[in-house]
Amino acid sequence: MSEHTLRVDWPACKAHGLCAEMLPEVVSLDEWGYPIVHGPVSAEVLALAKSAVKACPTLALRLTQPPPRPA
């Protein structure tokens, strides 16, 4: 199982900032309130990351894994 990455759907993100409150280990906010994602999501905070994805008011967060190499 490879590492998860938190990806932002930028046009959908409206800078509510819940992700940074729920997952300060991975997300901080820039000067305009938009998330800055710091590195991949470790196993310890994976559950928190999943809650942050669910909590986003605009559903702008996704947990992704590196795609398998295309044939």
Partner: protein, 420 residues
Amino acid sequence: MTLTTETTTLRPMVRNEVGLDPVVSQGPALLAGIAHGPGLAAHRGRLGPAPTPAADELVQLSRDVDLRGRGGAGFPAAIKLASAQRRRAVVVVNASEGEPASRKDAALMTLAPHVVLDGAAAVAHALGTREVHVVVPSELPSIRVGVEKALRERSAAGERLKVTIHDAAPRFVAGQAQAVLQLLAGKENLPVTAWQPEAVSGHKGRPTLLSNAETFAHLGHLARVGSSGYAALGTADEPGTTLLTLRGDGWDPEVREVAFGTPLADVLTAEEMAQPLLLGGYHGTWLKPAQLQGLTVSRIGIAAAGATLGAGVMLPLVEGWCPLVRTEALVEYLAGQSAGRCGPCLNGLPALAEALRDLVHRGGPVGRVEELCGLVVRRGACAHPDGTARLVASMLKVFPEEVDSHALGGCRGGRVEGSR
């Protein structure tokens, strides 16, 4: 809104407001037949029927000559073709050319539409589809007229493709792949987040071969002449030719097709070789005059010099202009071209333009410019913020003496270290 006193009154032109048509010269491959006009009869008379290789064959040919996409990113055409080689594929010819300093696709579509459409037909045949979309720039309506005429000629000659023409919005980011897919879907022509490459899941979730118009022209030419015929021009590492737009936003724009390996000194004038060069367009990178010596038209060689060939846009600095003032004007334009949908771009690019204006005209801190460059990169649905940051970062890297001089409130005009 604040009023500012600017240290220079010279405002370099950013966009070709007057819409000057570029001078297009006859080229060695794609533009070889332009003297015979854009019609199908002349095209077929000169070259004969268009070959339709099988998918595996076309992939192999593309691999043999290492054909790269000509939209700017230089992605290998063979990989894209192979990824889209699945059931119910769709072919999209992107001739929208959102970059105002690029005119090569407009030249190709106007003067040699069948060279592009032969490529599109070859790709459609190879992928086993009849569905082709052609995206044209709405600000140049003559291109749509020309493509419609070319398509009528082809269907009268018995070609059975289902081609739809779409008009791209007149803005910088409208030609970005995801924005084009939105346009095809009947939505606003703006970038959205891509969760998968369009070759895997593109138009209506189908595998979509979306490439720049020039890329299709090369595929058609390659299918016709084979890999050894294609490699008769160019170098061993980079076979074939490429289209260049010179001074695309200036008073004497020019489109030229040259073989890879052509010395830059054969493309630019001696005066231009003594000036800094912005390569790759408004999302591009600067090179100093000293770096231009011995350089050839080569994706690999230009990358080794720390720049990008991109979509072949070359903008020599006009003598007497300051590269910082020119960059600042471009960034202001680019900030205005943000679709305004992604927060970091919507807020970051105007802030970056302001910080750069502050640096260039009022000796403001370079640190703020660098900080904002870092804040916008990889934080948007498309690469518009990344390209803008690349241009600014290149300016800081290539012209440190000018940056220092502006920080002290001076401007050395066009006098750049390494010129003359």
